[in-house]
């Protein structure tokens, strides 16, 4: 609807309902909004892991000195990493368990990278982040011979799969690859 308006100088002019000022308000607010987002983004992003933290995100582990049937604890991304050299009994026990019946169904095959005797998992219980026992010599391995988390009693089997207790998932298998027969590259 066209309206007749008198502006401050007394000049009369016709108007189609949208005033110059409306446009300026909208444009200025939008521009300020874009500016605000441009400022907030780096303020939020600065909290993400910094370059030096990410630089530690990939490591190489020498696995040649791990005897069959034992495991080592090392550090990956400031968290414990378990590398376990399974013995034939442990492999058999893991393969005999039907994956379908598990809380987080996975086979040993799916949890290893071609070499079934090498089980590489994070040493972080999927419940609340405690370090499970079972990687060190003489540590409790739980009812299923794998790992046992002392915090709230989660039992993992020899493939690091959750069998009993409050943890929702199997021990996480990080991204890794065999760089050679004796070295794995994690991350």
């Amino acid at each position: 609807m066209a309206a007749v308006e008198t502006d401050a100088t007394g000049a009369v002019h016709e108007d189609d309902g949208v005033r110059r000022r409306d446009f300026i308000n909208l444009a200025a607010t939008s521009f300020a909004g874009v500016g605000a987002v441009a400022i907030v983004l780096p303020l939020v992003n600065q909290m993400n892991p910094s370059a030096d933290v990410l630089a530690l995100a990939s490591i190489e582990v020498d696995i040649s000195k791990i005897p069959v049937g034992s495991a080592i604890k090392t550090e990956f991304r400031k968290q414990p990493l378990f590398v376990r050299h399974l013995n034939p009994d442990e492999i058999k026990a893991a393969e005999d368990t039907k994956a379908d019946s598990l809380r987080d169904p996975q086979t040993l095959e799916e949890r290893t990278k071609g070499k079934k005797e090498w089980l590489v998992t994070m040493g972080v219980c999927t419940h609340l982040g405690c370090v499970p026992l079972g990687a060190g010599a003489g540590e409790l391995k739980g009812e299923f011979g794998g790992y046992f988390c002392p915090c709230h009693g989660s039992h993992y089997d020899t493939a690091g799969r959750i069998m009993k207790g409050p943890a929702p998932k199997n021990l996480e298998v990080p991204e890794y690859a065999f760089a050679s027969d004796t070295v794995i590259k994690v991350g």
């Binding site: 982040g129 370090v131 929702p168």
Partner: protein
């Protein structure tokens, strides 16, 4: 603010008159916590705990600023710098013990303050915004206390940080990126420690700001009182200063005695010995427990050991823990009874003393214990009661409860029944006076007959 009969600020000294014209800060203080704020005359000692909470906050800010002068917010140095404060800094041990135990004292007085609010239903209109701001303060306090506990970088600091930030990891899809973003890494480390230090310094001042809003919102309707009956005239109130400054001063003395006993004779009584071991990401302590003031909430978190339909147990626990606090935000609308004070709500009172209070104590005990099957079972039952109390019992009780009142039909008849005891009781308009002092209905202690004088609300 508050009542029309409040005293007016009248500066006498020329300088104070000058100040009043240029920057009326003394007027503001006079009206807020001076002679210009009328307060119900019948408050009991539970009404001390708001001021005590404010005192505890100031204590934490002062000791905290001092500690920050000597603390190093770096994961390589933090643990040693705390030992440096304990051993080398002049009076450093005093500052640290005062700060650590001050946090416990802060939570003790705030819990009593919340207890007061729950029993006397201070959350009901017209003070519902006061209550909401109080919950905001409580949440901020919990965040601040948690981050402060991480700073010494001991074993409990580290593993507490890991478990609590792990809670965010339970959120579907975005959980893990949020956790990494909060920590600035994949596990608590220097980045996390440093930002927690920054926020731990900032948040107390945010709390202080919300406290100002809390008090501001309170002073519009004025303080409530143990009878729950609104004050009606000047006779029902006394000026905050000197009457309640004196009473709060006495309470503050008692508070400081308890505080001093803790600081000087049992400084580590409420702490965890494991926190004197430097943080070790490769080894978990046998029993991760938070500070005592988080025990009830930790028990609710751990109570969920089973999946519910498609929601995993871990997420359920996290949701329940947050819900247990956020639930309180709805309390003014859950409790629909027109009667405010628990003294005059016989059914509410039974559930309060024999239901809610034991339930919270049991949850606290379970949260501090090692999670054996028995403990988990008990915390499950207590968690169920906690939610049932607020979501089922309280609305029903509010509906069906017969209010505790004099069996006679009117205040006049009520007083007539008490005639043999009420020599000296006179009526003046709608107000009763006893030996020249005003009687609030419900404030029957003046007559030595609790409950009898209460007549409806």
């Amino acid at each position: 603010m508050s009542f029309p009969w409040a005293n007016h600020y009248e500066p006498q000294h020329p300088f104070m008159r000058y100040m009043d014209e240029k920057l009326p800060l003394p007027r503001f203080i006079y009206n807020a916590i001076g002679g210009g704020y009328p307060v119900p005359r019948n408050l009991n000692y539970f009404w001390n705990f708001g001021v005590l909470s404010g005192a505890a906050l100031m204590l934490q800010i002062v000791t905290g600023i001092v500690l920050a002068m000597h603390f190093a917010g770096n994961s390589a140095l933090a643990f040693d710098s705390v030992e440096h404060i304990m051993r080398d800094v002049n009076s450093g041990w005093l500052m640290r013990y005062a700060h650590a135990n001050g946090a416990s004292m802060f939570f003790i007085v705030v819990y009593v303050h919340i207890f007061r609010g729950l029993f006397y239903a201070s959350y009901k209109p017209p003070r519902e915004v006061v209550w909401l701001l109080g919950i905001v303060i409580f949440l901020l306090m919990m965040a601040t206390a948690f981050m402060g506990y991480v700073l010494p970088w001991g074993q409990m600091s580290f593993w507490g940080a890991k478990v609590i930030t792990g809670l965010f990891g339970a959120i579907p899809v975005v959980g893990e990126p949020i956790q990494t973003w909060l920590l600035g890494g994949f596990s608590p480390d220097n980045a996390a420690l440093n930002r927690f230090f920054s926020l731990h310094y900032l948040l107390p001042f945010v709390i202080l700001g919300v406290v100002v809003l809390h008090v501001w919102a309170l002073h519009l309707p004025g303080s409530s009182n143990p009878t729950g009956v609104p004050v009606k005239s000047e006779e029902d109130t006394v000026p905050f200063h000197p009457y309640y400054t004196a009473k709060d001063g006495f309470g503050l003395g008692v508070f400081l005695i308890v505080f001093a006993i803790l600081v000087f004779f049992a400084p580590n009584f409420l702490g965890e010995p494991d926190n004197y071991i430097k943080a070790n990401p490769m080894s978990t302590p046998a029993n991760i427990v938070p500070e005592w003031y988080f025990w009830p909430f930790y028990a609710i978190l751990r109570a969920f050991t089973f999946d519910f339909f498609f929601v995993p147990a871990k997420l359920l626990g996290v949701l329940a823990m947050f819900a247990s606090i956020l639930l309180l935000l709805f309390l003014p609308w859950i409790d629909t009874s027109p009667v405010r004070s628990g003294h005059y709500r016989p059914l509410f009172r039974k559930f309060f003393w024999f239901g809610l209070m034991p339930c919270i104590i049991v949850l606290g005990y379970c949260g501090g214990s090692h999670a054996t099957n028995g403990v988990v079972l008990v915390s499950q039952l207590a968690s169920v009661y906690y939610f049932a109390h607020f979501l089922i019992i309280l609305p029903i009780v509010s509906r069906i409860e017969r209010r505790c009142r004099c069996r006679t039909p009117s205040p006049k008849a009520c007083l007539a029944r008490l005639r043999p005891h009420n020599r000296g009781l006179e009526k003046n308009g709608s107000h009763y006076r006893f030996s020249g002092r005003p009687v609030l209905f419900g404030h029957a202690r003046l007559l030595g007959h609790p409950h009898r004088l209460q007549y409806g609300v």
